[in-house]
């Protein structure tokens, strides 16, 4: 006879002290309205509205929860609000950077000849003319594109064999020896070398070996290799490690030599991961500025020889155009070129990141079962 009563009582005990399901939406709506009202009093802007509304929402929801549900649930709500808030705060700079680059970079990029001409012969006089008389902005980034592609290619050519062979040593031959442990440790340490120190190393190395004033694309490529090798080693090592041991054992059982097993069985199995790791490593170093600044100097003309003469690159182009505008009295055109180059650089990096994912998918080993 009490069995009909007990469930009712239990139910009420459980639902007692719970916020209604719509509570967050109600508080959000109130916070937005009150926030707009407060901002209207002191001058409206969207950013301030967002912040005030977020604070009001947190205070309102946590306060309501504390009053109805008790302090434990309220603390939980507060933590949730803070964590979500942290994520939204982290998104702000991303959106702001991409928006700024798009807005400021598009006019430069759409400028005719921006991708096809260099800064050769473009002087401050042209920039003054374009500001004062509305002439089109002269000059472009072709020389910097050439430099970036050549330096990055050379760095890749140096880093990939060294990095891949080291990864093979660590996975296939290392067997937890002291040497392989030392290499693992120092590769980890190398990932933390500041990029400018890598640049200084390359500069100091060539200063000692070749002589003072050696600034070429090749020096920059060496500097970038120092940054790139540890990334290649780490990603290739991870990929080689997940190749199933059964594949190696099957090859050994057929009498195949270890080196042929590695070349014909292990690497083809892991090639998708290795290729995407290399692409990500390229994406990382293509945007490096500091090492190129101290090793390749800065050029305004097209230099197709990576082993001789100063060389421009996209990041150093951006840097110098902002810091030392072509026309100091009218920095506008230089700014436009710099942001155009920044947009091109971001597009390149994003394409490389996207490419890495595509490569990983296309070359992924066919899953038999």
């Amino acid at each position: 006879m009490t069995s009909t009563l007990t469930p009712v009582r239990k139910r009420s005990a459980l639902t007692k002290g719970q916020l209604p399901k719509a509570a967050p939406y109600i508080v959000l709506a109130l916070a937005l309205i009150i926030g707009a009202a407060i901002l209207a009093l002191i001058g409206f802007n969207a950013f301030g509205w967002g912040i005030v509304a977020a604070i009001l929402f947190t205070v309102g929801l946590v306060g309501w929860s504390a009053a109805v549900e008790g302090s434990r649930k309220a603390k939980d709500k507060l933590a949730t609000c803070l964590v979500v808030g942290a994520f939204l705060i982290a998104l702000l700079p991303l959106i702001s950077v991409i928006w700024t680059v798009l807005v400021k970079g598009l006019p430069g990029l759409l400028d005719p000849g921006f991708l096809g001409t260099s800064m050769n012969g473009v002087t401050g006089a042209f920039d003054n003319k374009s500001v004062e008389q509305g002439a089109p902005v002269m000059g472009g980034i072709y020389h910097a594109l050439v430099g970036t592609v050549q330096i990055t290619l050379l760095a890749t050519v140096i880093s990939v064999p060294v990095g891949l062979l080291t990864a093979i040593y660590l996975v296939e031959y290392g067997e937890d020896r002291a040497l392989s442990r030392a290499i693992t440790f120092f590769v980890d340490v190398m990932t933390g070398i500041p990029s400018i120190v890598a640049g200084l190393f390359a500069a100091a190395f060539f200063l000692a070996v070749v002589g003072p004033g050696t600034k070429t694309g090749a020096v920059a490529a060496v500097a970038l290799s120092v940054l790139m090798i540890p990334v290649v080693v780490r990603s290739s090592e991870e990929m080689l490690k997940i190749v199933p041991n059964e594949l190696r054992e099957a090859a050994y059982a057929l009498g195949v030599r270890k080196w042929r097993t590695i070349l014909k069985v292990v690497i083809p199995t892991a090639i998708s991961g290795i290729a995407s790791g290399v692409t990500l490593a390229i994406a990382r170093v293509i945007g490096e500025t500091a090492p190129i600044l101290v090793t390749a100097g800065f050029a305004t003309t097209i230099n197709n020889n990576v082993f001789g003469g100063w060389m421009a690159s996209l990041p150093t182009f951006i840097y110098t155009q902002i810091l030392n505008p072509t026309s100091p009295s009218n920095p506008g055109p230089s700014d436009q070129r710099a942001w155009g180059a920044a947009l091109v650089l971001i597009i390149l990096v994003m394409l490389l990141n996207l490419g890495a994912r595509l490569v990983a998918r296309i070359f992924a080993p066919k899953a038999g079962r």
């Binding site: 982290a90 040593y169 290499i183 190398m190 120190v197 200084l200 080693v233 270890k258 080196w259 902002i322």
Partner: protein, 310 residues
């Protein structure tokens, strides 16, 4: 006949094995040699500056007087960056690992990784052109209302190109590093610990405080250290954002300088002893970041052994 062909082919195979394993060993040793070479060449090229008579060094008071203000400046910028980035990064990592809906979590992880993909020079340009301008009213407000704190002593920089702005840009740059490392560690929390906490009636926050954070403490510390290493060595954000000057305590005036930015700004035009001085500064930076990174890696390896026992 058959025996000779057999031995021949075996000989070729053995040679291939030797060459290949030798090549991999050589590549591994080359990496150690490069790291050793970095230290060696920096020391060799920096040596003239370290032994030069004090009046020949920039500033005229010797290398130590030249380097210590920019070492302090580097530390100030890095500390600001970490103070901002650490709580936000842990929050973001928790959001992706424990709060976001399952289907969205990996996609949101990619979005945060995009922050790491943006080149540093673009951050620098953004900080100089956008952030500095937008944030300078805040500096004026701080100078007016909090000016009695030495950190916020006025008059505030009119351009907003201060060490605090540089620190904020650095925070944005180290955020994805700390986030991705702590996220991995939070995801490794034993599911049974989490479920046990929830089964005892813990709310989600209590579960995180009892199961996730204690498990990830060593990982968080080492992630922050790695972020510190990155913040110490970051060049472009500071070189473009900060209008440098002498060491000051105020964060909202122009002034201060970091090692990396000092090198980047002066190296292209430097010659003679100035080159040695800058390389010596680079050596100091190298030693500092090497120490920070080695401590971080040491914590990680110790943690690995510990969690392996669980």
């Amino acid at each position: 006949m058959t025996t000779t062909s057999l031995t021949k082919s075996r000989g070729a195979g053995r040679a291939g094995d030797k060459v290949f394993s030798g090549a991999t060993l050589a590549a591994g040793c080359l990496i150690l040699a490069v790291l050793f070479g970095v230290a060696l060449f920096l020391v060799v090229q920096a040596f003239p500056a370290l032994v030069a008579s004090p009046d020949k060094i920039q500033g005229g008071q010797g290398f130590f007087a030249y380097i210590w203000p920019i070492v302090v400046g580097t530390l100030i910028a890095a500390v600001i960056a970490l103070a901002i980035a650490t709580p936000v990064a842990i929050g973001v990592a928790l959001f992706i690992s424990h709060f976001a809906p399952r289907g969205l979590a990996s996609g949101l992880g990619y979005v945060i990784d995009l922050l790491a993909a943006i080149p540093s020079v673009v951050y620098g340009a953004w900080g100089a052109a956008f952030l500095a301008k937008e944030i300078s009213p805040l500096y004026n407000w701080l100078a007016d209302n909090m000016g009695w704190v030495p950190l916020f002593q006025g008059p505030a920089s009119a351009t907003g190109k201060t060490i605090l702005t540089a620190g904020i840009v650095l925070a944005v740059m180290v955020l994805p590093i700390i986030t991705s490392l702590t996220r991995e560690i939070f995801l490794q929390t034993p599911k049974l610990h989490e479920e046990a906490a929830l089964a005892l009636g813990a709310t989600r926050w209590e579960m995180i405080r009892m199961a996730v954070l204690p498990f990830g403490r060593a990982g968080i510390v080492s992630a922050v250290m790695l972020g510190l290493g990155r913040a110490l060595g970051e060049t472009m954000a500071v070189a473009l954002v900060l209008s440098s000057g002498a060491l000051t305590a105020s964060l909202i005036q122009s002034g201060n300088q970091t090692i990396a930015a000092e090198i980047a700004l002066n190296f292209p035009e430097a010659s003679g002893l100035k080159v040695s001085t800058l390389i010596a500064a680079g050596l100091v930076l190298f030693v500092i970041t090497l120490g920070v990174n080695m401590i971080a890696r040491w914590i990680i390896t110790r943690h690995k052994e510990f969690s392996g026992a669980n």
